[in-house]
Symmetry: C2
Subunit: 516 residues, 2 copies
Amino acid sequence: MAEDQNILLEKIKEQGDIVRKLKASKESNDKIKEEVSKLLALKAQLKPEEATPQKFTLKTAKGTRDYNAQQMTIRNNVLQKITNVFKKHGAECLDTPVFELKDVLTGKYGEDSKLIYDLKDQGGEILSLRYDLTVPLARYLAMNKINNLKRYHIAKVYRRDNPAMTRGRYREFYQCDYDIAGQFDPMVPDAECLKVVTEILDALDIGRYVLKVNHRRLLDGMFEACGVPADKFRSTCSTVDKLDKMSWDEVRTEMINEKGVTPDAADQIGEYVRLNGGTELVEKLLADEKLSKCKSAVEGLEGIKLLLHFCSLFGIKDKIVFDLSLARGLDYYTGVIYEAVLTQPIKIGNEEQTVGSIAGGGRYDNLVGMFDSKNKQVPCVGVSIGVERIFSVLEAKLAAGEISVRTTEVDVYVASAQKNFLDERMKICAQLWDAGIKTEQSYKKNPKMLTQLQHCEENGIPFAVVLGEAELKRGVVKIRNIITREEVEVPQDDLVQELKVKIDALDRKVMNGPVV
Amino acid sequence: MAEDQNILLEKIKEQGDIVRKLKASKESNDKIKEEVSKLLALKAQLKPEEATPQKFTLKTAKGTRDYNAQQMTIRNNVLQKITNVFKKHGAECLDTPVFELKDVLTGKYGEDSKLIYDLKDQGGEILSLRYDLTVPLARYLAMNKINNLKRYHIAKVYRRDNPAMTRGRYREFYQCDYDIAGQFDPMVPDAECLKVVTEILDALDIGRYVLKVNHRRLLDGMFEACGVPADKFRSTCSTVDKLDKMSWDEVRTEMINEKGVTPDAADQIGEYVRLNGGTELVEKLLADEKLSKCKSAVEGLEGIKLLLHFCSLFGIKDKIVFDLSLARGLDYYTGVIYEAVLTQPIKIGNEEQTVGSIAGGGRYDNLVGMFDSKNKQVPCVGVSIGVERIFSVLEAKLAAGEISVRTTEVDVYVASAQKNFLDERMKICAQLWDAGIKTEQSYKKNPKMLTQLQHCEENGIPFAVVLGEAELKRGVVKIRNIITREEVEVPQDDLVQELKVKIDALDRKVMNGPVV
């Protein structure tokens, strides 16, 4: 904006004020016309781009959105519940920058790398926005030579994907990650990740779910046993991963036509990936003629068997399904992989919303080593909660009136029925703020009493302090209960104390409304 | 990473395991040598880029940093205190995307626009990272046609500035913004912003401070009175803004040589910008021969006078200084401007750290209108807390051992002195987690007792549940107090109840260590 334009805008504002005042005081039409013509003359001086300042569509970037106060209340509530579970399991909190050197991300995501956002080369380093929180964690561990860490990280990640915003698929979205790094005994941290997911989904109470588990070594073994060449394991894997969105026939066609798998091999894979179950399925596959001959398949199956045992000790076995069709797209997984899926659509009003996958993760033992000059490995396992889908369900419930939220926590509104009480209101506000009481007042000099009380009702503020001349002379003020409309007089000196007692006695659950 | 390379890495890992096992079981040297040579042969197959995977320097992008667990604990503590004050004043929480359409940011920051990070054009929209939280707020208000809002926003912003990281100047840094939008009576919301800043700085307790205030209308009037042409007001203003880093002589030279101000005008400005004080200075300037003739100067002075009156009602007048040298660089301010400055260096060990400005803001009545097709204005005023400088002070204190932090909140560690107790430990952990108790255990099958107790001591975990065969047979477990080393036996059925009583009785202040 040009500097003189800014001053011109000021002048237009001033002239507008003059016109408004004349109109308000019902001056003669001639006088008003004269000032209006001055105003129009000033506006004519505005450059075209200032007169119509908005030349572009006013919107957020494709696939992104603002969070308004109600959405933020829901979001903060969900993230708090997730954080509580992470902390219950002793995880530390970490944060990394939103962008990384592009080299850090290169070669970590397989086919999905094309979805990475790059920054413009403005001189200096070549940077990209983070695509997930896992690769930055691996970079952090390698850079600081840390061998042992349990951390959580809640932050936004960026993918130039095809957004489907009504279903909670964005280009900027939150991930809530929990990872355990270190050389430990088999499946002990892996099982805890599953326990963490169950605790989070139970705390969020958004419906029935299953946790699907599988093992990359078993997938490799299965591909080997079915005659897929080793160099096609990963790409075949990423095709199997599409089974939740495509039919087996479509997946089979892609395997044969795009991944170069023979029809015979594809058909053999098809037999396996239809299987799911529990320990009995593991036993059956351990006895399977083809798989039992393949070292990595046996290793994977033994891993799943141990994992299921630990899940049974954790009391979560009824929520776990061993599913051979689970593949996970990302390149970096090396061991167990998991995915949490809601098993029933969520009813919102008269509509049903299918949510599908809401958490996923697995073991990635080689990722840290890719950043180490001596290829030193730090084995890792972790899980990521896909909260956007949870947000979108709750927001739909909010829109349908099934839940309600309060967007502020104000307990007291300082009001006055009379004119010229701004100074007194300000003094009382400062007194309450300094005592730690959440307080608001009108920013107008002489607000109407009705407007003030309406503000309290609309915003769920439980109490109003009402100032009046007669009361102030006697050294008292009124406290009004907004819901019951009951009013009590208290000495000004006791105001803080009285309010604190009343606030402590509030039933918060009712005040803040049910969330979820 | 090529797919077959991933499999090769697996094979190398397996072969490595074989070699380690042979060495551990003290097999013959020949046998070990044979397996080592196999290992080396596998490693030789690695492509050069895999054998030395780290071809680039392992670092975060220039001007950015990771936050480790201790830094995050400090950061979350500071942000929580700030959030509490924002909520105490009834602000709602909003969030906007990290990037905006480039057009949204264009023309809002004057000379600083060159510091904006752009995203690469990968097809589709042209995007930039947000430079502050104020312009996205204005875009949000205009886009949603909101006339009235009190919101806070805590998020990272991005500036391609010259970083000085030891002093808390980064390219990615937090801003904590509090803004009031709406048509209200003069200086009422403006004064509350100052009150909010004092409450935050008092809560953070990082030393004495002053809040400098000034008024853009007064600056404009002063420039006008000193003979600066109107089209040079804003650029002269951004030169005055440098007075906190440059001497008057340098500023004067820049005004004359770069901004085209006459030496005479510059000298007159020099007389004014040296002034600071309180209400008595306002009165003196209202009587000033030159300024009293200039409408905008009088308007600015009347504004400051009213603001100081409200600050006095709020009980914060002793912290406010009316300072004519305060200018603020950004283009969009139109009324009051403010800046909070620590008045004494902070002692850390034997060194003193000068912190300087830690908050700033002002009124920007024309910014929202720049996004509205009809140029409809929504007056706004707000303040932004520069927390990075506060973080850097606290981190320096942490490094000097003057404060300590605990990075997890774990209350109970489930331990065992005997081998093969993993299953029992897992069952107890699940029991405690399900009861909401923050619990950890070793991820090793057979951890040493000493290691487990050391972990508790190092991490400030107050209690250990110690499992033993003899006790379990009798249906009891031991609870050990890590600090006193006292042990009590409790029936397994009472474990949750007993632990909850003990945890509730903890003195948290001591446990978590002083922060700040």
